[in-house]
C-alpha cells in the first residue's frame, strides 16, 4: 500500500517535471489563445446573441470564450505551465548547482570516456616540469586551473569558463514566474479605470473598467482639468497633440499645478497614473457673431449659445442651428438660420477663417463668426498597478537569462598527468561544453595543437 502510494506520487512528480508536458502546455496555450483573438472579448450579451445566435452563444458562454483569458481553464493552463516550470527547475537545479559549485576536479577514465573532445599523449618530460607548464598553459590559453594531486602520483587539472552560464535557464524560468506574480499583484491590489472631466471642472472619482455596472472608485484626491486642447499638423486634420492641463488638489492643497498630460507622457500621483486617452465636446458651444447691416455698414456683436434665438436689428429672429469645428476642411463653421415669420427659413454657413465670405450671399445682413467656445471634456485612463515593477524586473531577468542560456556556454577542461617509467609522462586531456558543441570543438582542436607543441618542447 505504502509503496503503491509512493509510486503514484513519484509518477505525479515525474509528470509535473516532464518536458513533454512543457511542450504540450505551450502548444495548448498558443492554440487556445487564438480563440480570444477571433471572438471579440468582453462585449455585451446582446451583441454576442446577434452575432452567434442562441445556441452558439450558450455554448461559448459556458466555455468562457467571451472573457477567455480570465476563464478557469485558461488560468488553469497557465497554472499548469507555472507548476511544470517550477517542478522542472527544482528537479534539475541541484545537479547544476553541484556542477557549478562542486565540480569534478579529478577526471577518471569513465569521465574521459564520456567526453567527445579527448586526447592522450605521452610526453618525454617529467611530471614535475609538466605540472608548472600545464598550469601556465591553461592560465594563458583558457582559465586558471585547480590542481589536485593524487596519492598515486597523478596530477589532475580542472579549468572552467563561465560556469554561472548554467544558471541562465533557471533565471529565465524564474523570470516568467516573477512576471506572473507581478501580474497577480497588479490585478489584486491595482485597478484599471477611466474618467471623463469637463474643462474647468474637477472630480475625485474614477470609474472601474470591465464591470457590468459602472462602479466609482475614490481617488483620495481631486483632479481639476483647467484646459484641454488638440493641435493639428499644419494644413491637415492629422492630430499632432492632445493635451490636458491638470491641477491636483490633495487635502485642499494644490500639490501639482498646471501639469500637462499628453499621450505618451502620463501623470502619476500617489501611485495612480492618468493617461490622456480621449476627448469630446461637453454640451453646446457658444459663439461670438458679428452682424453688419449692408445698407448702413453698422455692425452689432452677439454672444449666443447654440440654438439660442436672437433678433436682428430689423427684428427678424435668427439662431445658430449647428456647428462644426471643421467644416469640409475649412475650419470652424456655424450654420445660421434666419426665421422670418410666415416666410421661408434662410439658412447658410459662415466660416471663421473667411469673415468676408458671407457678403457674397447678397443678404441685407452680413454675418461673420468671430469666435466660439466649445467646452471639451478630456478622457483619462486611470490605472494603479503596484505589481508593474515586479513585472519589469521579471522582464529584465527574462532577457538576461535567455541571452545567457542561449549564447553563453559553460566550458570545462580536464588534464591528468600519469607518471610513467623512465621519467616520461602520460597526459590525458579532455573538454566539454554545455552549449554550442561545434564551436567548442573548433576551439578545442586549436588548443590541442598548441598543447601538443607545449608537451613536445
Amino acid at each position: 500500500m505504502n509503496t503503491k502510494k509512493r509510486s503514484f506520487l513519484e509518477a505525479l512528480w515525474d509528470f509535473c517535471c516532464s518536458l513533454k508536458l512543457t511542450i504540450i502546455t505551450l502548444i495548448l496555450l498558443s492554440a487556445t489563445s487564438v480563440i480570444g483573438t477571433v471572438i471579440q472579448q468582453n462585449r455585451s450579451p446582446e451583441e454576442y446573441l446577434r452575432v452567434y445566435g442562441e445556441t452558439t452563444y450558450r455554448i461559448f458562454e459556458t466555455l468562457g470564450f467571451f472573457n477567455m483569458y480570465h476563464s478557469w481553464w485558461f488560468l488553469g493552463l497557465l497554472a499548469l505551465f507555472s507548476l511544470n516550470l517550477t517542478a522542472c527547475s527544482i528537479k534539475r537545479l541541484p545537479r547544476v548547482w553541484k556542477t557549478v559549485f562542486n565540480p569534478v576536479l579529478v577526471a577518471d577514465d569513465d569521465l574521459y570516456r564520456t567526453l567527445s573532445n579527448m586526447e592522450e599523449v605521452v610526453s618525454k618530460q617529467s611530471p614535475d616540469t609538466l605540472k608548472t607548464k600545464i598550469g601556465e598553459f591553461l592560465k594563458a590559453n583558457f582559465a586558471p586551473a585547480r590542481v589536485t594531486e593524487g596519492e598515486d602520483g597523478k596530477v589532475h587539472f580542472y579549468a572552467e569558463k563561465m560556469a554561472w552560464a548554467r544558471f541562465g535557464v533557471y533565471v529565465t524560468h524564474a523570470s516568467i514566474l516573477i512576471i506572473l506574480i507581478g501580474a497577480i499583484i497588479g490585478s489584486v491590489f491595482g485597478f484599471k479605470g477611466y474618467v471623463n472631466i469637463v474643462e474647468g471642472t474637477e472630480t475625485n472619482r474614477a470609474w472601474l473598467r470591465g464591470g457590468a455596472q459602472p462602479t466609482p472608485i475614490d481617488l483620495g484626491f481631486t483632479v481639476r482639468v483647467d484646459k484641454f486642447s488638440v493641435d493639428f499638423y499644419e494644413g491637415t486634420r492629422r492630430p499632432k497633440l492632445y493635451e490636458s492641463i491638470v491641477t491636483i488638489i490633495d487635502d485642499g492643497v494644490e500639490v501639482k499645478r498646471d501639469r500637462s498630460v499628453i499621450v505618451n507622457d502620463p501623470l502619476t500621483y500617489k501611485g495612480i497614473v492618468f493617461y490622456q486617452s480621449s476627448y469630446g465636446p461637453a454640451g453646446d458651444p457658444s459663439f461670438v457673431l458679428k452682424v453688419t447691416e449692408r445698407a448702413t455698414g453698422e455692425s452689432q456683436t452677439y454672444n449666443l449659445r447654440q440654438g439660442q434665438p436672437a433678433r436682428l436689428p430689423g427684428g427678424e429672429p435668427f439662431r445658430v442651428a449647428n456647428f462644426s469645428e471643421n467644416f469640409q476642411n475649412f475650419g470652424p463653421a456655424a450654420r445660421i438660420e434666419i426665421m422670418p415669420q410666415g416666410q421661408q427659413v434662410r439658412a447658410f454657413t459662415v466660416l471663421q477663417a473667411f469673415p468676408q465670405f458671407d457678403a457674397q450671399r447678397g443678404d441685407d445682413y452680413i454675418f461673420s463668426l468671430v469666435d466660439y467656445n466649445q467646452r471639451q471634456y478630456t478622457g483619462f485612463q486611470v490605472a494603479k498597478d503596484p505589481g508593474v515593477w515586479v513585472v519589469w524586473i521579471g522582464c529584465i531577468l527574462l532577457m538576461v537569462g535567455s541571452v545567457v542560456a542561449f549564447f553563453l556556454a559553460h566550458r570545462r577542461i580536464w588534464v591528468t598527468l600519469v607518471p610513467l617509467d623512465g621519467g616520461k609522462t602520460g597526459v590525458k586531456f579532455g573538454g566539454a561544453s554545455n552549449r554550442n558543441q561545434p564551436g567548442f570543438e573548433l576551439a578545442f582542436d586549436e588548443m590541442k595543437k598548441k598543447f601538443k607543441q607545449e608537451l613536445g618542447s
Binding site: S30, N264, S402
Partner: protein, 287 residues
C-alpha cells in the same frame, strides 16, 4: 523622394539576387551563387542607405522620426531585417542555396511596397500615440525576431524537401543527387533552423517587452490581450515549444522543421493578418 528611388534599386537587387540563387540550384555554378550573394549585400547596403535617407527626409520635413511607422515602411524594414539575418547565416554556413528560399520573402515584401500608391508611401507626421522612442525599439526588435523566423522557415522547407527525397531514394545512404545536390546537408539545414530561431526568439521577447513597456507608458496597461499582443504571445509560445523540443530526442529534424514553418505562418499572421482580418490597436497609422 530620393529614398524611394533607392528602395526601387533595393527591390531590383533583391529580385536579381533571388533569380540567381534559384538559377544556382540547377546550374550548380558557384560563380552564380557568389554573384547572387554579392548582389544581396549591395541590395542590403542600398536598403540601409534608403532607410537612413528616408529618416533624413523626414527630419528635413520637420518630423524626424524613424521610418518605421506605416505599412510601407514596415515592409522595407522587414526586407532589411531578413537580409541581415540571412547574410549573417551565409557568413557562417556558406550554404548559398538557402538564398533561393529566403530571398523570395524579402522580394515579396519589397514588391508589395513598390506597388503601393504614392500616398501610402509618403512620409507622414506621427499621431500622438506613435510619438515615442519606444516605437523605434519595439519595431526593430520585433522585425529582427520575425526575420529570424523567416530564415528558419526557409531552411525548414529545404529540410523537408531534402529529407523527403533522401528517404524515398531508399536506405542506400547516398545523399540526394540532382537538383538537391546544391542543398546543404540536412544536418546543416536543421542547424540553420535552430540558430535562426535562437536569434529570433530573444529578439521577439525583447519586442514584446518593449511593446509592453510602451503600452504601459502610453495607456497604463502593459498587457491587454489585444489580438496583436495575443498573436505575438502565440508565436512566442510556439518557438518556446520549439526550443524545448530540441532537448528531447523526438523533436529534431522533421518535427522541428514543421514547428518552424507553423511558427512562421503564425508570425506572418501576427504581422499582417491581425491588421487585415482582426481589429485592434495596431493599425499602422492608417496605411
Amino acid at each position: 523622394m530620393f529614398s524611394n528611388q533607392l528602395f526601387n534599386y533595393t527591390a531590383l537587387a533583391y529580385f536579381v539576387a533571388m533569380i540567381l540563387f534559384i538559377a544556382f540550384i540547377p546550374t550548380k555554378n558557384k560563380t552564380v551563387a557568389l554573384v547572387a550573394t554579392t548582389i544581396s549585400w549591395i541590395g542590403w547596403v542600398l536598403n540601409t542607405l534608403a532607410i537612413g535617407w528616408r529618416w533624413r527626409e523626414s527630419a528635413l520635413a520637420g518630423m524626424g522620426h524613424a521610418p518605421m511607422t506605416n505599412l510601407y515602411e514596415s515592409f522595407v524594414f522587414f526586407a532589411w531585417s531578413i537580409l541581415i539575418i540571412y547574410l549573417l547565416m551565409d557568413i557562417k554556413y556558406k550554404a548559398r542555396a538557402v538564398g533561393a528560399f529566403v530571398l523570395p520573402v524579402a522580394v515579396f515584401f519589397m514588391a508589395w511596397g513598390q506597388m503601393m500608391p504614392d500616398h501610402s508611401r509618403a512620409i507622414q507626421p506621427l499621431v500622438p500615440a506613435l510619438q515615442s522612442n519606444w516605437l523605434t525599439y519595439h519595431v526593430i526588435t520585433c522585425f529582427i525576431g520575425y526575420a529570424g523566423f523567416a530564415v528558419a522557415a526557409g531552411a525548414s522547407i529545404m529540410y523537408l524537401i531534402k529529407i523527403g527525397r533522401e528517404e524515398k531514394s531508399g536506405a542506400t545512404n547516398t545523399p540526394a543527387g540532382g537538383m538537391l545536390a546544391m542543398f546543404p546537408s540536412t544536418k546543416v539545414l536543421d542547424d540553420i533552423n535552430y540558430k535562426a530561431i535562437m536569434i529570433g526568439w530573444p529578439m521577439l521577447t525583447l519586442g514584446i517587452v518593449t511593446g509592453a513597456a510602451w503600452a504601459n507608458y502610453a495607456w497604463g496597461t502593459y498587457w491587454s490581450w489585444d489580438p496583436k499582443e495575443t498573436w505575438s504571445l502565440i508565436i512566442w509560445f510556439i518557438y518556446a515549444a520549439f526550443l524545448h523540443a530540441r532537448f528531447t530526442r523526438g523533436w529534431v529534424g522533421r518535427k522541428a522543421a514543421w514547428l518552424s514553418i507553423i511558427g512562421f505562418a503564425a508570425t506572418l499572421f501576427c504581422y499582417l493578418g491581425v491588421n487585415l482580418v482582426l481589429s485592434g490597436l495596431h493599425s499602422y497609422g492608417g496605411a
